[in-house]
Symmetry: none
Subunit: 426 residues, 2 copies
């Protein structure tokens, strides 16, 4: 079973910078066809919404929840089941949201370092190179004996991060270290002429020497960045020498802050994001959305939506507790969160969005206690729909008029339903 | 709302010639696997077939129509909902039909000039460069004050086109101007060594100078073609000097007549086209189909099909009035056209086609009065089907054994059902 709280062994597909040239092509059609109009779009994301029955013959979390408002809306909406990333593949929050925003997550690969920095609320800029850092243990012969430094508590991790921030001094760049949790941290190098085309120092196994960071492309930027990363690790080793078991750092997932085409560029949308957690705020900021103060709890987010209504034509609203309940394996709590959202749907409809999607970024079935590869229910409401069911649930969505389809298509559908796309060809 | 009768502001994606190298790859599999056999395929296209309910809880045009023959056929057919071009995108007739013929419409981009020429029935040849032309108004200072010349009536447009045809004289090429409607016309330059890699002269806004036509690639052909286009505009300005408000022309959508792989090359099919409107005849000719005299009305088309039966193994039959009714917002009339087609289905089945598709090139819901992005119902009949419903309608198709799928796949399905494809691999 995949344990999403321990992703140490997940390989990163594609080292270095994402292939921006290919990726931009995906959005060319939207860029060409989209027009600025008065209509407004809401993308309401219940994180990890997709679910599974706990027993054969049972209902999913969404099917079991009492959702009179969503059911009534489903009867006036298009339904479908979206597939994030690829068949059988469980997406992280980064790829899950990039797909929802219309960026193919296999092309727009955002490095783990960047996602970690976004996750702790660090405000990355265009010249920033980020990497994920683990505190780890070197034995007397310089080999790695524990890749997680005995899973040191978060207080210890914080203390070590403070030490590194005080003492690390690299020539020509600013260095920021931020604590994530326990043995996990993130390092950001800020300066001109850096590159994310670097291989990890973490060999992914114990009993081996740490690897020197090496460039994976032949460029002066990558050479310089590799030298900086190695100098950082060397200084960290000196600073942490007496901190056994956390006497070294392993670096992985190097990446520059990626310049994604913004919602304004790609869709001509003035987008607002209402999200409570740093990771989702960071992902929204990658897409050029304006962050709104989120308010207290789910009801507070909906209140913020109402207050922001006049200034924008696209709203990304992120509800986290569905995912958290799924990860805890708490089927009932996940259903209750969905029910809480359901009670707020009438307020949302009072705003009269022209196109509204209610969906998730991936499935987090309580049955699996983790993100999963299963289809994600989508309800798409506009005046131009072909309803197929009287309820909002995975099985109703599987038979819907949108079928089973890639999650990257949701933005195109929303743009079409909001009448924001010109005709393609004569 | 998108108004399909005034598409002046729709940008053409990708200037110049389509990328034929990429595009041909799409058909390579068909080319490799297809075999010439005795079996016969009919592709019956009800233009704009896909629809929507007029009110929540209502039926679509196809669902509301009384279609006993199509329903009975559906119970012996595969059903599915096809998606043309891309999610949320409303296709024009060109991309809609290219997709039905198995050519990816995002790769095989046919310029607006070529489509306009096809639309007025001009017989384009391999050396022809076509552009869409608008009569427009220049003010005293040479700036564009009206991009549509006050929407001059068609009679005036025809007169101006006659003047241009008489007087324009360009060195090294023949020039043909043809009237489309009101202020719209098309110009075709015929000669060796031309290129469609040209930018528009139409700046898309009033208050600006017209743009000189510039090459968008660095080639002698494009340079020469730009000079010819600019000379044409210069001569037109002299000829039209006294014709205010129609005292200039704006040119856009330059493109060469594209050499698509023919049905014979791609599928080994001797294809016939039965269509009443120039645009669809032109699109069929692009695919190398033989045009048949269409006969009177829909019944006449079916009679032509019968008379052409022995000489071909593929038949494209195009029924236009469904789309026209949809564009007029006339739900009842669209349903009646579908009912008329239904009465002719027994005659069609008497011909014993080995594989028969009944579908549309896109949706034209009366609800929207325009082409739309919605799914298009497909009924595919052969002896080898997996029926899932007793009726032919959008919702039955959404739950069909073909699911929701890209329209470019229809030709492959027809070829398979007609047993015209070899197995792929051992």
């Amino acid at each position: 079973m995949i344990d999403c709280r321990d992703r140490e062994n997940t390989p990163v597909v594609g080292a270095g910078a994402p292939n921006m040239e290919d990726a931009v092509l995906d959005l060319d059609l939207m860029r060409e066809l989209s027009v600025k109009t008065e209509s407004k779009i809401v993308l309401l994301v219940l994180d990890g919404l997709g679910g599974l029955p706990m027993q054969p013959g049972g209902k999913t979390e969404l099917e079991a929840a009492n959702t009179p408002n969503l059911d009534s809306l489903a009867a006036r909406s298009d339904l479908g089941l979206s597939r994030p990333v690829a068949a059988g593949v469980s997406p992280g929050s980064g790829p899950g949201h990039l797909g929802l925003f219309g960026y193919d997550p296999l092309r727009f690969q955002v490095g783990r370092g960047v996602l970690s920095a976004l996750g702790v609320g660090f405000e990355l800029g265009d010249n920033d190179l980020a990497a994920r850092v683990n505190f780890a243990t070197l034995d007397g012969s310089g080999k790695i004996s524990d890749r997680r430094a005995g899973r040191i508590p978060s207080e210890k991790g914080e203390e070590l991060v403070r030490m590194l921030n005080e003492k690390v001094d690299l020539e020509g760049v600013e260095t920021f270290v931020r604590h994530e949790k326990e043995y996990r941290a993130v390092v950001v190098f800020r300066g001109e002429g850096l590159s994310g085309a670097l291989a990890d120092s973490d060999p992914q196994r114990t009993g081996l020497d740490p690897l020197p960071v090496k460039p994976v492309e032949d460029s002066p930027k990558a050479e310089r960045s590799a030298s900086l990363a190695n100098a950082f690790i060397e200084q960290a080793n000196e600073i942490l020498a007496d901190q056994h078991p956390a006497n070294t750092v392993l670096a992985r997932g190097f990446g520059m802050y990626p310049a994604l085409p913004s919602f304004d560029e790609a869709y001509k949308l003035a987008a607002a994001a209402i999200a409570g957690y740093p990771m989702y705020k960071g992902l929204a900021r990658l897409a050029g959305m304006e962050l709104k103060k989120e308010g207290e709890g789910i009801a507070g987010e909906f209140e913020t939506l109402k207050q922001s209504w006049d200034g924008h034509d696209f709203f990304f609203v992120h509800v986290k507790p569905t995912d958290a309940a799924g990860e805890d394996g708490d089927f009932e709590r996940k259903a209750r969160v969905i029910e809480e959202v359901d009670t707020l749907i009438p307020d949302l409809l009072d705003l009269r969005p022209d196109a509204l999607a209610v969906t998730g970024d991936h499935a987090t079935p309580a049955r699996l206690k983790s993100h999963s590869w299963h289809g994600v229910p989508l309800l798409l409401h506009s005046p131009y729909t072909l309803p197929t069911a009287e309820v909002f649930g995975e099985r109703a969505c599987a038979g819907g008029s949108l079928g089973v389809f890639p999650a990257e298509e949701i933005m195109g559908l929303l743009m079409g339903h909001a009448l924001k796309l010109n005709r393609f060809g004569a």
